[in-house]
Amino acid sequence: MHALHLVGYFEPFQLTWRYLFAQLVAGLTLGSLYALMALGYSMVYGILKLLNFAHGEVFMIGSYIGYFVLTALGGSANPSVPVALLLVLMFGAAMIGSGVLGVVVERFAYRPLRRAHAPRIAPLISALGVSFCLQQLASIFFTTQYKQYDPFGLSGGTLTTPFSIGAFQISWMQLIVILTAAFLMVVLTQLVTRTQIGRAMRATSYDLEAAAMMGIDVDRVVVFTFFVGSALAGAGGVMNGLYLSNTFPLVGFNVGLIAFTAAVVGGIGSIPGAMLGGLAIGLAKAFAIGYWSSAYQDVIVFCILIVFLLIRPSGIFGVPAPEKV
């Protein structure tokens, strides 16, 4: 009876497979962006128990770097190099630039506080300060005018025009975003589980002091973590520009807030949790718009967050912190 009532609520077009798949793809694409961002929050929190609120601004700077590379190479309508090379250069520059920025932020804004054994609130405020500084500097130097990647001009628009596989409709750009995010997440997982630095990261996240006593260079691990997390944010910034065209000084703040939510839903500190949390929120947003109303998209996402955290406070893959006595 209830199901029938629900069916009556929706328009007939909303009950087709084609429409359902379209929302699924839109949600996965958006979710991939959030997942990449959420990874950065989760990795840093996992190791330092720090909520790096400047992470969104690192994403924003990555997005600008991608835009400047794109513009320097002739823009999307008339690039001076092949599109594949253009994309590699944009991603490469943004990842390196954002990675370096992440390391600089850690070096000057967080490490001195860590060394001084400052209370946990201090680096949090420092992170907020860095976030606002970067936002304002971007507003001043890049202006607050929206910069357009114009992905619809790339390859004469073929990348953004959807093609059908049965009831599925997807564009190359959506595929690029989803596959690049999946590739980067696989690389990160391998890095963390199969390399020496990955083992050091896991050891440090388990117990920073014990890891140091065991001979692990904790500062090096922290720097590496910031570099990798920020590089992923930089890649996310370029993907955001390629998929959603616009970049502006506040772009990271908005995406960052949702990605942070994703990291919490997934279980902050957990890499698979961040991925899953990002995808879940991307899907929730797409389905909220597709089946209800765009006006309620954030209401739905954050209601889900509240309800979910009431049921499972430590998130999907989070482990409740043991009470030490």
């Binding site: 328009e11 077009f13 909303q14 087709t16 084609r18 429409y19 379209a22 929302q23 839109a26 949600g27 694409t29 958006l30 000057f108 304002q136 500097l137 507003s139 001043i140 130097f141 202006t143 607050t144 005018q145 929206y146 357009q148 619809f152 628009g157 953004t160 025009t161 959807p162 564009s171 998929y243 959603l244 065209s245 616009n246 502006f248 506040l250 772009v251 908005n254 947003k285 797409a286 718009i289 597709g290 109303s293 765009s294 006006a295 998209q297």
Partner: protein, 408 residues
């Protein structure tokens, strides 16, 4: 070593801050605030606008038109609507960048109010800026004339907006959103052939400008029997994928979009087209920016007209082009807003002295027989324009140019 690092760190931070401050100062182009009182030798007016930020292209056009007017006024050149017999009081401008941000507008309002020399203000550009900064100017006794704020409630004292602005202080030389919603909906139904029972998606950007406008347009469409899918998406959330898919899937015959970020209109319409949308698009004056919104076939309604097409303005438009490059016409009403203030100050200065309240009173006496907009201009008691232009509908051509399809 630690001290050296700390000193180096502090030096870097100070260096960045100094560089940022110098860049910011250069970009806003604000003039130093003087402490002298009002003068009839050279009267000071505030000229505000979003000279930087997402609406900078519109704001800079407004600033350029205000600058051009002041240069014409001060040099005694002929100005449409200004009688030769009027003894012109020369003007000095204090320019202030509001970034289309209500908080910044409020700060600017405090500065202008505190400056005793300022007699009236051109602005604010955005409706939300008037709501934030207007009451501050009002408390300082300053009249202000906007060349672009169209929210209907600003001049309606029965609404919270109109209540805080109060009649006699806020004025505008452009029509209000009630007129825009009616013009746009009539254009959709009568000219573009949207019929009763067909679907139109209406989208606002969840801010003070677009929500009331789209709400009214939605009501008018529903009254005409059109099925409306009302949507709302904040300007900073630029993912229109799901909305575009929904519009296509529900078979929307048209999308009506109101917002203040032209590049969002560009992205949304591009996504719609990529998904196979072949209906009509109409968006409001916030998206009127030929450098950012260039999708051929789209319709845009704007309170301004294309000044290039007003024959009497040819020499002034040519001079504008020579000085600043081409105009997007958005700023042309700001010329008229500045003219109304200049005229009122000249009337108030007839006895050699002037106060803010005199300028305010004389503003209501100014009646221009014609104007740069090709129409006579005066103010109603409410502050709304009497005469002036209605909304013009433009269509983007294949060359990206905005062509008039229905003059205002």
């Amino acid at each position: 070593m630690k001290k050296l690092r700390a000193v180096l760190g502090a030096a870097i931070v100070l260096g960045i801050a100094a560089a940022a401050a110098s860049v910011a100062g250069a970009k806003t182009g604000s003039t130093a605030v003087t402490a002298a009182g009002p003068s009839c030798k050279k009267a000071t007016i505030g000229v505000t606008g979003p000279f930087t930020g997402p609406a900078a292209s519109a704001g800079i056009d407004q600033r350029n038109w205000a600058d051009l007017f002041v240069s014409y006024w001060n040099s005694g050149k002929p100005i449409p609507g200004t009688p030769k017999s009027l003894k012109r009081v020369k003007l000095a401008e204090i320019k202030a960048d509001t970034q289309l941000n209500p908080q910044v507008a409020a700060t600017v309002a405090v500065q202008l109010r505190a400056n005793k020399a300022v007699l009236a203000v051109v602005g604010f550009s955005g409706s939300q800026e008037n709501v934030a900064g207007g009451p501050i100017l009002r408390r300082g006794g300053l009249a202000f004339v906007s060349g672009s704020a169209t929210r209907a409630s600003l001049t309606d004292p029965s609404t919270p907006d109109g209540h805080v602005l109060s009649n006699g202080f806020f004025h505008r030389v452009v029509p209000n959103d009630n007129a825009q919603a009616a013009v746009d909906v009539t254009f959709l139904t009568k000219k573009l052939g949207i019929k009763a029972g067909e679907t139109v998606m209406t989208v606002d950007q969840a801010e003070a400008y677009s929500v009331p406008l789209i709400t009214l347009a939605t009501q008018l469409l529903q009254k005409a029997g059109v099925k409306v899918d009302r949507q709302s998406q904040p300007a900073t959330q630029t993912d229109f994928t799901s909305l575009a898919q929904k519009a296509v899937a529900e078979g929307a015959k048209a999308v009506m979009f109101a917002g203040q970020v032209a590049s969002n209109a560009q992205l949304f319409l591009q996504q719609l087209k990529a998904d196979g949308f072949n209906g009509k698009w109409i968006s409001t004056d916030g998206t009127f920016d030929s450098s950012k919104f260039t999708v051929p076939g789209a319709y845009i309604s704007s309170f301004s007209l294309d000044v290039h097409q007003v024959k009497a303005d040819a020499a002034i438009v040519a001079d504008f082009k020579k000085r600043y490059g081409d105009t997007i016409s958005f700023g042309a009403p700001t010329w008229v807003a500045t003219q109304m203030i200049a005229h009122a100050i000249s009337l108030a200065c007839a006895d050699g002295r002037v106060t803010r309240s005199e300028v305010r009173a004389d503003l209501n006496k100014v009646k221009l027989s014609t104007s740069l907009l090709g129409r006579p201009i005066a103010f109603q008691k409410s502050g709304d324009v009497q005469g002036g232009i209605s909304f013009t509908i433009f269509q983007i051509g294949s060359d990206g140019k905005y062509n008039v399809v229905q003059p205002g």
